[in-house]
């Protein structure tokens, strides 16, 4: 419900939401100028978790930098690492074996489901419902178990290597993944029953925070924020990379532009990811996971390379400027939430604080990914 009252600018006060606030999912600060419960103006202050990823890119060699990407976005770490290895492989001209590409896609999609599950729980928690978080995290633990068995870590994976992977998947993983898919589909049905069908939930999201297509374009929004506003944009489809053209999946698009549309998009994305995992397991070819020929020292030729991938949070771009040495000359990380969050200042004007915070939840924020 947008503002039905006339806002009087002289009766305002400043409310400081964050850096420590339960709704901000980390250390984000929003300076809100409030008129009662209504937001007159908002200014987002970020940078509380700026961890110098771009500076480290210039200091560390290419393999040393592999671990940074997973710490940039810890929920959907695989997607970001995928972008990084792809751009370096592109620059250095490294061939990747097909099996490795399939395993990468499976891992990225599993990670996407895990990330969306966490978002789902945290989003409902923003709205005041606690139990879905517990259910979602329980399902997420299954994914983490599977991935931990292969990658060795629960959260901040360092699994992809230039040209391939660190470790091959085994039969245990495949059977676990095959068991997981029907289980997850059942859980999704349960979530729809528990949350999507809830009348309070519907009323809180329907019509809240409409984002127009034009606004998305001016801010460069991606992921569910764009797809909830009727923009059919998914890097996996628009600029196919890796083995994604081999998979048959849909991109959910909703035209309502509100928070509920963004919620629906993400819930459907989980189903689509499950489809991709299923197909990936079926099509998984045999073969090596590392290329036979691989340069010992990675030194991409001088030049400017760009790679976009679709991560759990949207279109992640990575720009590599190489000068032919063993460290990048410049490494720019274009994070999707950065653009999505930027929308917030303009979009939340005139909203009530609780709607604004629900809207913030629907953006799926991971703060270290904004601050980098």
């Amino acid at each position: 419900m947008s503002s039905p009252i006339q806002l009087q600018p002289d009766e305002t006060f400043i409310l400081n939401v964050g850096p420590q606030h339960p709704a901000t999912h980390g250390v984000l600060r929003v300076k809100m100028e409030m008129n009662g419960e209504y937001i007159v103006d908002a200014e987002t202050v970020i940078g509380y978790i700026h961890r110098m990823h771009e500076k480290m890119g210039e200091v560390k060699t290419y393999p040393q930098y592999l671990m940074n990407l997973s710490r940039m976005d810890y929920l959907g770490a695989m997607g970001y690492s995928h972008g990084h290895v792809l751009v370096v492989e592109k620059a250095a001209g490294i061939e990747v074996p097909e099996r490795a590409e399939y395993i990468r896609a499976i891992m990225v999609e599993l990670n996407r489901v895990a990330s969306h599950l966490f978002w789902f729980g945290a989003f409902v928690m923003d709205l005041g419902g606690f139990s879905p978080l517990m259910y979602a995290l329980q399902d997420r633990e299954y994914i983490l178990d599977m991935m931990e068995a292969v990658t060795g870590s629960r959260l901040t994976y360092c699994y992809f290597r230039f040209g391939g992977l660190y470790n091959d998947i085994d039969d245990d993983f495949i059977s676990a993944a095959r068991r997981f898919i029907p289980r997850m589909r059942k859980s999704l049905k349960k979530y729809h029953k528990l949350v999507t069908g809830n009348i309070i939930f519907h009323k809180r999201l329907e019509g809240i925070a409409p984002l127009t297509k034009e606004m998305c374009r001016k801010y460069g929004a991606s992921s569910a924020v764009a797809r909830g506003s009727g923009i059919n944009f998914d890097v996996r489809k628009n600029e196919p990379y890796s083995v994604y053209p081999e998979f048959d999946f849909d991109v959910p698009v909703y035209h309502e532009c509100d928070s509920l549309a963004r919620y629906n998009v993400r819930m459907e994305e989980m189903e689509q990811s499950l489809r991709i995992i299923e197909q990936g397991l079926d099509k998984l070819p045999d073969g090596p996971i590392m290329p036979k020929k691989k340069p010992k020292l990675i030194k991409p030729p001088a030049g400017d390379y760009y790679q976009a991938v679709e991560t759990a949070r949207g279109s992640f771009g990575i720009r590599l400027v190489s000068d032919g040495t063993k460290t990048p000359y410049r490494l720019k990380l274009r994070s999707p939430t950065y653009s999505n969050m930027h929308l917030f200042d303009e979009a939340c004007r005139g909203m009530m604080i609780m709607d604004a915070l629900a809207f913030m939840g629907s953006l799926d924020l991971v703060i270290p990914e904004i601050d980098r």
């Binding site: 970020i46 940078g47 700026h50 110098m52 771009e54 500076k55 210039e58 751009v87 592109k90 998305c216 374009r217 001016k218 801010y219 460069g220 929004a221 764009a226 923009i231 059919n232 944009f233 489809k237 628009n238 600029e239 030729p301 001088a302 030049g303 400017d304 390379y305 760009y306 790679q307 976009a308 279109s315 771009g317 720009r319 400027v321 000068d323 032919g324 000359y329 410049r330 720019k332 274009r334 950065y338 653009s339 930027h342 929308l343 303009e346 601050d371 980098r372």
Partner: protein
């Protein structure tokens, strides 16, 4: 299609088009090597091999032409991906790189670059055209010290509000 349209639109800014380099793979890479080592590339529009570089059009413009170039992309409904800087310390220049892309399936990634002197790093802001450039420009400002003329709120974004250092400059020492 959109690629040609954009290209012709951007080429109009250069009334005497220089010999347009089309992307023949090996030569262009060698060119770049030369460029990196010798002299900065001249302003103009270059078509790049997407499978190698990840973008289609690479336009280098002068700071005065920047708004014009961005307006062309805005008319063609590009969305802004990011803005960033590169410090070419050997050439005593700073480069500002603007990335644009499209939402539809007519894929076309456009990179617009502009180079300025390190001593007087000033470029016009594009926040008037793309509201979303606001944070990107603030970030570039704090990391490289590039001043965006006309920017409404040019204070550090990621660093503390009173930070006066520019960490991504190559001569930065903590």
């Amino acid at each position: 299609m959109i690629l040609e349209k954009t290209k012709s639109g951007l080429l109009k800014m250069f009334p005497e088009p220089e010999p347009v380099e089309t992307a023949v793979e090996e030569t262009s890479e060698e060119d770049e090597k030369k460029n990196a080592s010798k002299e900065p590339r001249k302003n103009g529009v270059v078509e790049r091999d997407y499978s190698v570089h990840g973008y289609h059009l690479d336009a280098q413009v002068s700071p005065e032409q920047l708004l014009e170039a961005v307006a062309i992309l805005d008319d063609l409904e590009f969305f802004i991906e990011s803005i960033t800087g590169v410090d070419w310390i050997k050439e005593d220049q700073l480069e500002v790189v603007y990335d644009f892309s499209r939402y539809d399936f007519d894929t076309c990634r456009v990179v617009i670059r502009t180079r300025i002197n390190r001593a007087a790093p000033v470029v016009p802001t594009i926040t008037g055209l793309y509201a979303g450039a606001n944070w990107h420009e603030r970030e570039t400002h704090e990391f490289f010290g590039i001043k965006f003329e006309g920017h409404p709120h040019l204070i550090p974004l990621l660093l503390p509000e009173d930070a006066d250092f520019h960490p991504l400059l190559k001569d930065f020492k903590a």
